[in-house]
Symmetry: C2
Subunit: 305 residues, 2 copies
């Protein structure tokens, strides 16, 4: 997908999605394949894991993580297992969220979801597996054990928040004391924002970020984390299922709280612009090494799938 | 439950179950309650977690872990978060395994299972939550980061094996090249044995075990891990549901591969004795500090629920 040409990229050239994602995605793809292979799984579980993990996807969380690492002067190559851990965690959440008892989605990335393909039991088990494989990955990084511990803590915290967000999203139970917009933020920040924020911070840990750089990455992660879900809400009402590879208008049909539903499409787009700016501003103290991360923030604001 | 009085305990007195479990179980119970409280969960998720975690149970894995720690001279009090992590992991596996798509069990510890109580969506999410809370616990131990990393690796590896075992157990797919008894061992060692073995090894890590002590604990964990499931198979055919608090004769009804099903009750009892002896022998190089662990091995061989 080619981005709108009027978007000025930090790196100055007309940016294609492939410019941002191709290098990290290729590294992560190879490492994901290797991680599943190394787990020495029974054939049917291996097939399920391949289907759930290697079936495409933007690899956004690994890319955010690796770009965050680079932004603080870290090396991408040695940080790959942390990127793999993030993607495995993301894949687990998609597989479980798609289950009939939760969002009951039959289509994901233009393909049948795992429970449609391999049955509910396998989808539950394969999702569980991905969480343990994710944490195994974090113990395989060539970093100081104290950094590995920070990564475990960050990933576990992000996963806990994600489950809390999914619980609110699927089963309600939001604090009645909050205004609808605050309720919506609470869902989105947990359901999607927390793992994206964790990705940025994990990149910081892998790159040995100092405290002030870590604050930049955290603020950036906060902003793009919420922005991602607002854009997702917008795509759900403005795009076709064929284009984005999963069912659309689902949020509205299920009566879920969304930004366009609550604030309208125009106001939601304004929120996206505001969060994009907040993300870019957060990176201000970081040098040109953070340019790919700036571009990624801009891309996340205008993505169409 | 009072044990048969003709069982000679290492500690010399007539052993009650409470003698072995009361001290560690009370510490673990308090810490589990605190861990769930600290996660600051939405009310319905908190209720589900309480139901799934605090609803009783022998706390065998935490006890094994703490006794293993003590056996190598470690301190129980500072190792509690690792024990909590093990129990959370165990509870996650029970909740997911009980789901309709897997074992479809309505009764656990004499109470309705979580999906019966709170619905399938909540049971799936609460199970997921327990895995991330488990790993969060491991980052809260007052140990060297390198030890925390070993604990993460061990717990993640045990969890992966457990999922593999449950996949074999629920969905088949065992290598046809193996004899039935080897197939059975493969299921049991993964489904139940791996986490029990991990519990012993995690105790070793927390107690700063040297290499030879770690070998003792690993061999002990291997033996009691397999033994536990053989005893479980036996209880499934010899005890009432009322006594053990969950459905009995289920394995047989579902056509699952079990020790009594394959070898008969008597031969299975012989296997239990053999594994018990192997467990006790493995601890031979360890001193009197390992007595509680010896007693625990003996108890696991003769438990009636």
């Amino acid at each position: 997908m080619i981005l709108a040409p009027d978007v000025t990229m930090t790196t100055g050239h007309t940016m294609h999605e492939s410019d941002l994602f191709s290098e990290p995605a290729a590294l992560v793809e190879a490492a994901l394949t290797k991680a599943i292979e190394a787990a020495n799984l029974p054939a049917h579980l291996r097939e399920a894991a391949d289907w759930g993990v290697l079936g495409g996807g933007k690899r956004l969380r690994p890319t955010l993580m690796l770009m965050s690492c680079r932004a603080v002067g870290g090396t991408i190559e040695t940080s790959i297992p942390a990127a793999v851990a993030l993607e495995l965690t993301h894949c687990f959440s998609l597989i479980h969220d798609d289950l009939p008892a939760l969002d009951n989605d039959a289509l994901r990335r233009g393909q049948p979801t795992l429970h449609v393909k391999a049955g509910e039991a396998m989808a539950i088990l394969a999702g569980d597996l991905m969480i343990s494989l994710a944490f195994q990955q974090l113990t395989q990084l060539p970093v100081e054990p104290s950094i590995a511990c920070s990564l475990v803590s960050e990933l576990a915290g992000g996963t806990t928040s994600m489950v809390i967000g999914q619980t609110y999203d699927t089963l309600g139970g939001l604090p009645g004391s909050l205004e609808p917009r605050e309720q919506l933020q609470l869902v989105h920040r947990n359901k999607t924002g927390a793992l994206l924020r964790a990705a940025c911070r994990m990149g910081g840990f892998c790159g040995n970020a100092d405290e002030s750089s870590m604050e930049c990455l955290t603020a950036y992660g906060d902003a793009v984390g919420l922005m991602f879900q607002v854009v997702d809400d917008l795509l759900d009402v403005t795009q076709t299922a064929e284009h984005i590879g999963k069912a659309t208008n689902k949020d509205h049909d299920m009566g879920k709280l969304t930004y366009p539903g609550l604030l309208g499409v125009e106001e939601s787009r304004r929120v996206v612009k505001e969060l994009e700016q907040r993300a870019i501003d957060a990176l201000e103290p970081l040098g040109p090494e953070a340019d790919p991360l700036r571009d990624l923030g801009r891309f996340m604001a205008i993505r169409t799938k």
